[in-house]
Symmetry: C3
Subunit: 398 residues, 3 copies
């Protein structure tokens, strides 16, 4: 039997694939003190990935794969032997043409959900439904997690910054969520990583190009599976308050910070946090593995992203064993509830909202211990106020 | 900082882009008395424009950009310093894969709306809703303005006609709106411009390929923004009757023929016209700028397109400052209402409906004055019968 | 007038088009006793076919065109002067991006329906509606005939099997119907034809990749029009029972096995069969033309595909004159009814369901007579139990 492949496999692990846009040693651009690095660009072929554009930033120590076609989402990152990302039942990056957000009772977004970082927003970012407070009929039919993750970027550029040593490599793209008689929002997203480092940064500027004020909701659905997630892995942060979203989350309130292994029949549990920032308004969340030897931290500014949501979804690996760390402008309740609680951003005409998150891989027990000490220092009281039941204003109370 | 662009910008103003299909001087085909001219073809790259096909007809004096991918719509035209078109919040030509007509309460069509000429139809062309008079469940769920603008053309051909001097250049494409157990309509659209002229023509043949009679609705949503549209710009035509569509339009009935500048909070106003044709059944509508020095005329046959609608949408420029001149087979009321009024075309099996519109740029006050004199000559009575309120049979009365 | 075509016509009849992947005489691979043969691959251009991938298997006597882009459907087959397939009002292979299954009251699937073999499934395969028995909200909104026909295959490979004489050529592809919090099904479809033969085989392996058991519905919508279908053509099979689906089908129960010519106003008639297999569980259905000189047989395993449905749709040719031979795991009633009747397959985690159908062209009266004798031998009783009205458990009784 002879087999002749017509498409390349859309195996994202093959970092040799694609066209090199720029790299250390072979381009006109040198980034002092930064060897080796490489930025490559490719189009996936076959199945629902056909035409998906992938830009890979390899800083010599960490690689980050960005998907301009999926609203500048981040597909995966790798640092040493640690893969950041998860194994969704949706195996491959999905071209937006195959995602009908309005189908499946407004849950069609799930058909394309498998990234390390999927943005939710920009006009709305929570569950589907009819928003009675919408300004127009064009805006009222909300679909799960909004439109931005399924709008492709244009004006995509590779960035090479040699203004410091070591240099920084990155990719930028512009995503427009606009319609006549509706919101007109432009997001310029810049994803960068310093050569040789163990972190990368997502920095977004969202501008209201419309003539009147408009609403903005933004959430970074940051999803981690194995190897970091596993039984007895745990999550740590300095928090004023922790609130279970619903009765199902309330069941697990005593163990909200630790994870089960893959568990048949597990139904997702979601917790809302009011985090404590440092003097610069920065805060972070640490996910560490069971041994406390490896982890990842998610850093952000509490002024930009005041609401933090933890999604625990430790179902069997075949169904998608994952946890989500979700800094956001709001909690992912239905938009009208968030509006009532004053947590929907209003952007004036021409106004720009800036949000930034940084993901850093942790590879030493010593480093992780130091991070936990920083959390303890921020956590002035003995611990957060952990509510045992859904509580206003975080979510509708029971 | 170094920036390396991965996509070309989808800037439609760059007439040098693309592949030259044919041009004066360099091809085997010569069009006597017609220098210079050029027909070019290109695919846009990046964002929601990825893969959109643009055919540009440049007759040496006027250029017209046609979008086969968007149902043979006309993106823009330019003549001297006059741009025909408008600046929609939807900035770039949108590939139909990103338009879900059924989403957003049936208003998803607006996500792709930004052309100079967008056809509405073919089975239906008005607002969304459930058509109780539909022949089958496949046909009853109507979406705003129909399907044709989001179906790509096949068999696209460039036309070069040297049968007269100067010659004519053009593009033709075939768009099929068909489904099993539903209408089977084929539109062959031909868009042409005479070399050196200041006008172009859209000529459509729509054939019922099905075995039984079927309904047809067709409207040419012809949209003009600056520089022609501006404060004190005005619209002129010979009309038997003018009717405001609703209470909002009735508010402005005394000034229906003149335009405001960009106006915050302006809600659209729509007027229905019964136009007066000349002895050859031809009629036209003139839009002129405030100074009466520049304008555009839209010419058509009142037998083919008996209903004319004026859409005034002088909202702020950032939201899309625009007016629509809309000749059609019907008024864009809900289909069942138009059916009751006898304004839905019935096409027998094999029957073809022909419709044609011509857009002509006017660049002299003298020419514009002459056009207004022609209107006055047609307008035998002192003026049209202007109704102050919505009136049957034009629209549901209050 | 000069015409310059910008796209090739998407004429499927031009077997010279495309890239030859492998063929007799010119490749490294020889298939002994098999001359000539050829496997070619191409992408269609223009209109709704833009980007559709076609793999053509030409075994020297019969050619089969497979559409990986449309879930490994079979577009057409040709053997001598017999075309297998039909002329749908939807003229060209439709890229899934233009099919919104959820639109048109859940009947949007019809916008892309024109193949010889279109699979219906995998999670559901019947009419649209809300499935109250669905496990989750992601799964409850059913659309006509399911998703699989509009999901493109990846990992597409050409197969050349020289293990026997003559050899076999084929194409294989993998189609995944998966979502988070929903079914995760992977279909590996292999379509093969023996060199010089008059038949081809579709062999599908469908695996539940999820962590819990899931439901499977699979139907092979096999559609035949002229030249085999025509007035007085007839269908033959060994059956225990024949049941009309509804009152419309009951009207024609006395002539269920014969066909009218194209008939204006004809509404579809559907019959459900319980077929009689042979000792190896194999059964087949014969469609023969009016003269009994030409025909096609559809062979399958009654254990794999226990339910057979006959779709008679002898409407005028312009509307799609066609009959469907539909072996399936179930009858295409609404999923909840089929579940109640115990006809929905349950697949355990990791379990694979295998189904195979074979289409064989019959070109001699002698051969057709022999096939009818085989049917008579299986039909031990004088004839099937033909019910005059819709009957449980085949369908809801009147």
């Amino acid at each position: 039997m002879h087999l002749i492949a017509l498409y390349e496999q859309t195996d994202m692990g093959d970092s040799d694939a694609g066209t090199v846009v720029a790299e250390s040693g072979s381009s006109d651009i040198s980034l002092a003190g930064s060897d080796p690095w490489r930025v490559s660009s490719r189009r996936l072929a076959g199945g629902v990935s056909e035409g998906v554009h992938v830009v890979e930033l390899d800083n010599g120590h960490m690689s980050v794969s960005v998907l301009p076609t999926r609203g500048m989402g981040v597909w995966r990152a790798n640092c040493e032997d640690i893969r950041l990302g998860w194994d969704s039942p949706v195996g491959r990056p999905v071209h937006p043409q195959y995602v009908n957000a309005a189908a499946r009772n407004g849950l069609g977004w799930l058909d394309g959900f498998n990234e390390l970082i999927a943005r939710c927003g920009l006009a709305f970012n929570g569950p589907p439904g009819i928003d009675d407070g919408a300004k127009s009929p064009v805006e009222s039919q909300l679909t799960l997690h909004g439109r931005i993750a399924n709008i492709p970027a244009h004006s995509v550029e590779v960035l090479l910054d040699d203004s410091s040593e070591p240099g920084t490599i990155g990719v930028r793209g512009v995503v427009e969520e606009a319609t006549l008689f509706g919101p007109r929002l432009r997001m310029t997203s810049t994803i960068t990583t310093r050569c040789g480092s163990n972190s990368f940064t997502v920095s977004d500027e969202i501008t209201n190009l419309g003539a009147s004020s408009t609403e903005l909701q933004l959430l970074y659905h940051t999803n981690i599976g194995p190897p970091l997630l596993g039984p007895r892995a745990s999550v740590h942060c300095a928090a004023n308050t922790v609130v279970p979203r619903d009765a199902r989350a309330a069941e697990g309130i005593d163990t909200f910070s630790t994870y089960l292994g893959p568990t048949p029949g597990y139904a997702e549990q979601v917790y809302f946090f009011d985090l404590i920032p440092d003097a610069q308004n920065e805060t972070f969340v640490l996910l560490k593995d069971a041994d406390g030897e490896r982890g990842v931290t998610l850093h952000f500014d509490r002024d930009q992203l005041p609401c933090f949501t933890l999604w625990k979804c430790t179902q069997p690996e075949a169904d998608g064993y994952v946890t989500g760390l979700e800094p956001a402008t709001n909690y992912p309740n239905f938009k009208s509830f968030e509006r009532e609680q004053g947590r929907v951003v209003s952007l004036d005409p021409g106004e720009t909202y800036h949000a930034e998150i940084r993901l850093q891989v942790q590879t030493s027990m010593k480093g992780i211990t130091a991070l936990q000490e920083r959390i303890s220092a921020l956590q002035i009281r003995s611990g957060p106020d952990v509510r045992r039941q859904p509580t206003l204003p975080y979510c509708p109370a029971n």
